[in-house]
């Protein structure tokens, strides 16, 4: 997982790893929660590397969403692979997440004041 600061001081691009399964989720959740708690309330979660995700992996996305909402921030999901998108759609979570395919557009959106 990688955090890259964006043009806006409270915005950040988070590149998520290949696997988001039950064994990795506590670490991932802690890192993202820390990022949000320390003031970064606008996140682009880049999913293009994610090949495997299970429901506990999805719960990391959900916890990030709820936390940023509490802090008047925003979350964007970027470029999920077909498999990951299928799971997001199967669980109907595409109704609550903004999903972008284009990285520049996602970054431009999150950096809007």
């Amino acid at each position: 997982m990688k955090f890259s600061q964006l043009a806006l001081s409270n915005a950040c691009l988070v590149t998520l790893p290949k696997e988001m399964m039950i064994t990795q989720t506590p670490t991932l959740r802690a890192a993202i929660t820390h990022q949000i708690e320390t003031g970064c309330n606008k996140l682009v979660l880049d999913l293009h590397q994610v090949e495997y995700i299970d429901s506990s992996g999805l719960s990391v996305l959900v916890s990030a969403l709820k936390l940023t909402q509490k802090k008047a921030g925003e979350i964007i999901l970027l470029s999920p692979s077909a498999g990951v998108r299928a799971l997001i759609e199967l669980t109907r979570l595409h109704h609550v997440f903004a999903i972008y395919e284009d990285k520049d557009a996602a970054i431009a959106h999150i950096c809007e004041q």
Partner: protein
């Protein structure tokens, strides 16, 4: 300065001097005593070996050449004991070969004779440092071991607790059997760890209506199972409005009460329905849950019902009902995502598509045999390392007289002989195995075997539920082929 340090380091230490020459022995013992040390002496290595276990000795100073056992031989002996002392050898010369022999035999230090008393003193100081360090380390080790034993006992206790909690959880789940008005239920439950985040149940609402649900809390283990227990508690008959016959209402309420105090983003997917056992009318609400599979005499298909968000995402979300009818002999299969998300190291995820295909090819099996077949296929796919909780539930409608005009005249299918069915089944499964599983010969053989065995149970026992004993034997047989 050196004096205080020496006294601090050497207090409580006991030194054994081994020297055959009386004058030398007196000299060394005199020196050491004047330094304030506890000293014992022996005039031979043999006597030292006899003395050593009788007292707590920290440092041994031994002459090299003695009648009987030599200094290095004494070293060898003492260093083989469980608590060996620190050993200083006295040598008459400083030859390299002496040093090599000495170190090989286990000596820690050497002093060449004749020696200056102050040199002996600092060598003893160095020895004392090491002896003290060792004793501190062994004290700590003892404490660590003690703590480890306590932790171990605690862990065992927790494991026992988990095991009994798991038994409790398992005992709360419904087992296969007959429901009201000749409807029937078949279930399977395979937790990934002791405790599962899956839970399912059916409820007799009144003479006519049955309620049922299957829910899956994200993750597995203790926290997930506590959450699913809480949800199941809320869905238990007395505290839930089943009599409203409105699944959406029940799910709305459940969603409003969903708690995630640690903000872990935990959520639950749920499928909840109510069926009228006389008319076959079903109302279903889906909350982020995979679509149920509809099975009948013609095959299996994934339903396409309207589905809402999982529980715990948006407390104000309004869920919808889906209404449809189960016709005579149709079956509704509910399952958790662990069933199709399990991964094979080479072939990847089992996938929903493969699940539906597998059900389609095996749709002629009785519900019980189908669940057995699916479980076995999953076990093979996961290489017997459970990844997520798996739960399955098949609700079967009997001959429904009220809707009999609607059910198609497919009774002819019953006339097909067992052999032709069996051939067809094995053939289609073989093809499927080749296409789906590519070159994994073992897996395809095992899957083929599993479906055949499952089918034979059905044929031999003529749609009577298989007994647990039977299941076990057949499982062993088919696994044997795989291995």
């Amino acid at each position: 300065m050196l004096e205080t340090l020496f006294q601090q380091q050497t207090q409580n230490l006991t030194i054994l001097v081994v020297e055959d020459t009386q004058s030398e022995r007196f000299f060394i013992v005199g020196l050491l005593t004047s330094m304030g040390l506890n000293v014992i002496c022996c005039d031979s290595a043999e006597q030292a070996i006899e003395q050593y276990p009788k007292q707590a000795i920290d440092i041994v100073i031994s002459d090299w050449r003695m009648p009987g056992l030599t200094g290095p031989e004494l070293c060898l002996h003492l260093k083989n004991l469980t608590s060996p002392p620190y050993i200083i050898l006295l040598t008459a010369n400083n030859l390299a070969e002496h040093i090599v022999t000495g170190i090989e035999s286990g000596a820690d230090d050497f002093i060449a004779k004749p020696f200056i008393p102050s040199v002996l003193k600092v060598r003893i100081l160095a020895a004392a440092r090491i002896v003290n360090l060792q004793s501190r380390l062994s004290d700590k080790n003892l404490k660590l071991n003690d703590a480890l034993n306590k932790e171990h006992a605690y862990l065992e206790q927790v494991k026992d607790d988990l095991k009994s909690a798991a038994q409790l959880q398992g005992s709360h789940l419904p087992s296969s059997g007959q429901l009201v008005n000749r409807w029937s239920l078949a279930t399977r439950f395979k937790p990934a760890q002791e405790l599962a985040g899956d839970i399912f149940q059916y409820i007799n609402i009144d003479q006519e209506n049955i309620g049922f649900y299957l829910l899956d809390v994200t993750g597995h283990g203790i926290a997930a199972s506590m959450q699913s227990f809480t949800l199941a508690q809320q869905l238990s008959c007395s505290s839930c409005h089943w009599e409203s016959l409105d699944p959406a209402l029940i799910v709305n309420q459940l969603n409003r009460d969903f708690e995630d105090p640690e903000n872990t983003g935990r959520f639950a997917t749920l499928i909840l329905g109510i069926a009228n056992t006389l008319t076959g009318e079903v109302k279903l609400t889906l909350a982020g849950h995979p679509q149920p599979i509809l099975l009948d005499k013609h095959g299996a298909s994934l339903m396409t019902l309207d589905a809402g968000l999982p529980l715990g995402i948006d407390s104000q979300y309004r869920y919808k009902n889906n209404a449809f009818s189960l016709k005579s002999h149709q079956q509704l299969m509910l399952y958790s995502d662990g069933l199709y998300e399990c991964r094979h190291p080479k072939f990847g995820e089992f996938s929903l598509e493969r699940l539906v295909n597998t059900c389609d090819q095996a749709h002629q099996l009785t519900p019980e045999a189908l669940l057995h077949h699916l479980c076995h296929s999953m076990e093979l796919w996961q290489q017997k390392k459970p990844q997520d909780d798996i739960s399955m539930m098949i609700i079967s409608a009997p001959e429904l007289t009220i809707l009999s005009s609607l059910s198609s005249s497919c009774d002819d299918a019953d006339e097909l002989s067992f052999n032709s069915l069996k051939n067809e089944l094995v053939q289609s499964d073989l093809e499927a195995a080749e296409v789906d599983i590519l070159d994994n010969h073992e897996l395809s053989v095992a899957l083929e075997n599993s479906i055949r065995v499952s089918y034979e149970i059905t044929a031999n026992k003529e749609d009577v539920d298989i007994t647990p004993q039977k299941t076990l034997n057949i499982n062993d047989a088919s696994q044997g082929i795989y291995e």
